[in-house]
Symmetry: C2
Subunit: 218 residues, 2 copies
């Protein structure tokens, strides 16, 4: 029979998965606000960040309680320390989606993304949303193979970022400095969301296999 303690540990994992889904939704909605220049949706994303922070507080409290009261042994302890790090990644991903939403809000009703950049930016956002979804599955199922696929998606993100720079620095760029600054920062936000998704997956790989993957430095 499983103990209340193990149920509590499972609950932490369930909450992490729920938080990851919440972050995924936030990235998707911020992107929708960006691509449709919809200030109202952008505003919703900014407001909903408080819910993500509330889940963070709840998980942090649970982790602390388990550490303090249950004195977990090595495997469980490692899981709880990882959970505490993953919560920090997820909170940050939520903040980054808020940054995307704020660019949309600042420029609305104008579009922040010029037409010729739309395919690249749309794909960047898709890759980011996919990667966050994949991270949720990695966490829920301890799926090490899915974690490795995530690393490949991250390479597509890097290639998309390079493509966006080529467009902005090409001779056909007619939009000047302001959209270029917006797009450079937007690209950075999506890239960081992707990096954090990889980081979440690596923490799970480490828990399952004990194998450290070299840390991201982007």
């Amino acid at each position: 029979m499983r103990s209340a303690y193990h149920d509590h540990l499972d609950l932490v994992v369930d909450e992490l998965v729920a938080m990851t889904h919440q972050v995924q939704q936030s990235v998707a909605r911020a992107t929708h606000a960006l691509m449709t220049a919809d200030a109202a949706v952008a505003e919703q994303v900014v407001a909903a960040d408080a819910e993500i922070d509330a889940i963070r507080d709840r998980i942090e409290d649970q982790v602390f309680e388990l550490l303090a009261l249950q004195q977990p042994v090595a495997g469980d302890l490692r899981m709880l320390v990882a959970a505490s790090r993953m919560v920090a990644d997820l909170e940050r991903m939520g903040d980054l989606s808020v940054h995307v939403a704020k660019v949309a809000r600042l420029r609305a009703p104008e579009a922040a993304v010029p037409a010729e950049m739309t395919p690249t930016m749309t794909r960047m956002a898709e890759v980011a949303v996919d990667m966050v979804g994949a991270a949720a599955r990695v966490i829920a199922d301890r799926d090490v193979d899915a974690a490795r696929e995530l690393e490949q998606e991250d390479e597509e993100m890097d290639e998309l970022r390079r493509r966006s720079f080529r467009l902005m620095l090409g001779e056909n760029w007619a939009h000047g400095v302001e959209p270029a600054i917006d797009l450079a920062l937007l690209g950075r936000y999506y890239e960081r969301i992707a990096d954090h998704a990889v980081s979440l997956a690596r923490r799970v790989v480490y828990l399952v296999t004990g194998e450290t993957v070299s840390s991201l430095s982007s």
Copy 2:
């Protein structure tokens, strides 16, 4: 008489302070590389990041060992959980200084920072380096007042960032898109270094006073 356990806890704090100084040096050297277009110094910053990561590994191992073997009670446990978060902040600050160095390296022997942006960018870097130094003192001395001063310096950083945007978007900007993208990203890196310094200080305030300061969302 103090126990080996408490000496070990103190050692974690000492290592955190040492890591903060290492990060401060990395930010200062990356800035030097940037402002003098010195690819060799930039390269040193990139290479030295491995040392910062090594301190991170050491502190993480110490924290884990203390958690696993000593089953610390509430106050010490809170300190160890905070230390684990602070290590993550510091690692990230090191990565951000590497990003600054990489911009310097990419543009050298040209300067990445145009002359009219030099005062703003120099001041941004000074504020960032100061803030990291202040964070080290906050950690070493549990100095809550210094932590509050740090928040004020962070406001200067925000103002400098706004000034840099005004310069790039003003009608006298004659450098086009590429330096503007570099500067927008450089400003972001320094701003994030400052945010992490504030975050380090807030964790100490929380340990000392139990008072949570609302989390940064930039």
